[in-house]
Amino acid sequence: MSGVGGLRNVEAWRTRIPRYRFLGARCKSCGKLHYPPLKACPYCGSRDLEEAQLPRQGRLLAFTSVYSVEEGGREESPIFVGLIDLGVARVVAELTDVTDPSRLAAGIPVEAVFRRISEEDDEGVIVYGVKFRPVPGAGEGD
């Protein structure tokens, strides 16, 4: 076990499907979507939910460059994180493929990509899931 940061091996395996397929939940009562899926709708509290695919394209509402990262993330520092508007839902996710941080800005289009998120230790399973990247060629100045 390497510290307290990431998902444990069995836990990572058990919880993989929503992360791999970017599956959230739709509330049958109020109709809203959310991700990651909870057992109740975060908006109206209804327990009547169904699985729902989240859109893979969205817009960046806000971003931050994180320098005070945890162990295991230092080589990648700064790590970019965004609040992303997918139209039907919002998500907080890591931003990746940021080759030019000066082009990150509220409003730019971003898209979901499947990436490595963390690993428990050298022998542990690798946790994969969704990150978002600026849509190639769609940024300002292109």
């Binding site: 510290g3 975060p42 806000a62 005070s68 945890e70």
Partner: protein, 374 residues
């Protein structure tokens, strides 16, 4: 008879490499009980980050052993960064329902491990399968909120910097504060970045501390408790229609004011883990119009002689410090001391009502305690 804060005990928040959780907690309790006769019947302990960093289960019972309180009724409360005020809520309700004295002790140690390990532990104040999934530590969500705030209300970075400057000017006078030095607002933006636009000077320091509060249903002491309330909030800023409005804070505050039968308070301790959280709480409490909190802070509205209530005379999480599970107990002790006119730092002039507002993370929960002078 209302439950009162009979007495309090605080340790200075610092990097106490030579003291452990039990050393600090016993010091705070000895300080709290030195002038009071009877032993408490209940011990409510609150600790949070240490549960991950230096694990100890059933801490309250082991602490009771260290205190010589064998046979007492002891339990621990955990609510992330709001643990301390959650313990006050539990202790207050116990004191009311049993008519017995309750000792609330908050303690946490953040300085024994490298900061990268502490950030890994602290990120778990956020939802494990959501905002805490990535290797981004504790500051990312605050960075997002600050960025949204500046964008939406057109607030500039320099104006926000007056918050940490005010916290440091208050902490300078507080013997229990960790960072007792002044910081000029113009130094904040250019300090080491933590999560842009926030820097190290927008963030609480990693320190250790313990605070104890003796609650007495027989009244007397420093201050009376008028109400303690709480509310849960959204599991992520992504699930909030407006992440810059803290629903849990609004609801816990409304409930607490209503139970206490007051419209506002004269002295306040609020949760400012990062500059942005302090500003958002001020706005959610309607002490500032939306987008205007930083400007009011810069004008001196929340310090001595300002137009608003005196806010974070202790120096706040920013400069007094934030030993996570202990912070809410510090807040309660500080407000009680203000109302008794014995706070050893910046003082509210003749205040009759005060409050402590504590949250976890982005506001997954919020707690409000309201006090009045005896």
């Amino acid at each position: 008879m209302p439950v009162s804060v009979k007495s309090v005990g605080l340790t200075r928040i610092d990097r106490h490499y030579n003291k452990g959780v039990y050393d600090l907690a016993v010091e705070a309790v000895d300080d709290a009980l030195k002038d009071s006769g009877a032993e408490p019947s209940y011990l409510v302990a609150s600790t949070s980050a240490s549960l991950l960093l230096e694990p100890q289960l059933d801490l309250a019972s082991y602490l009771a052993s260290h205190l010589g309180l064998r046979g007492s009724r002891a339990l621990a409360v955990e609510a992330g960064e709001a643990s301390g005020l959650a313990a006050i809520l539990a202790g207050y309700r116990l004191a009311i329902s049993t008519g017995e004295r309750v000792l609330v002790v908050g303690v946490d140690k953040l300085s024994d491990l490298p900061s990268a390990s502490v950030h890994a532990a602290l990120k778990h104040v956020f939802y494990r399968y959501g905002d805490a999934l990535y290797k981004v530590g504790h500051a990312a969500v605050a960075g997002l909120l600050a960025s949204l705030y500046m964008d939406r209300f057109g607030v500039d970075r320099e104006t926000m910097s007056y918050w940490p400057a005010m916290m440091h000017s208050h902490a300078k006078e507080n013997p229990y504060a960790m960072l007792r030095f002044a910081v000029k607002p113009e130094k904040v933006a250019t300090a080491m970045p933590v999560a842009s636009p926030l820097t190290l000077l927008d963030m609480f320091p990693l320190g250790d501390g313990a605070a104890a509060v003796l609650l007495d249903p027989q009244g007397g002491g420093l201050a009376e408790i008028a109400s303690v309330e709480s509310s849960t909030g959204p599991a992520s800023i992504a699930f909030s229609e407006d992440p810059l409005w803290l629903d849990a804070v609004e609801e816990s505050w409304r409930r607490a004011l209503s139970t206490a039968g007051v419209n506002g308070v004269e002295v306040l301790e609020i949760h400012d883990s990062y500059t942005i959280m302090g500003l958002l709480i001020l706005e959610t409490l309607r002490l500032a119009e939306r987008g205007k909190a930083a400007e009011l802070v810069a004008e001196g509205a929340f310090t001595v002689g300002g137009s608003g209530p005196l806010v974070n005379a202790s120096g706040g999480l920013k400069a007094r410090g934030h030993p996570v599970g202990a912070t809410g107990v510090y807040m309660a002790a500080e407000v009680a001391m203000q109302l008794a006119d014995v706070f050893p730092g910046v003082k509210a002039d003749d205040a009759k009502t005060g409050a402590a507002v504590s949250i976890n993370g982005h506001g997954s929960s919020a707690y409000t305690a309201i006090f009045r002078s005896t």
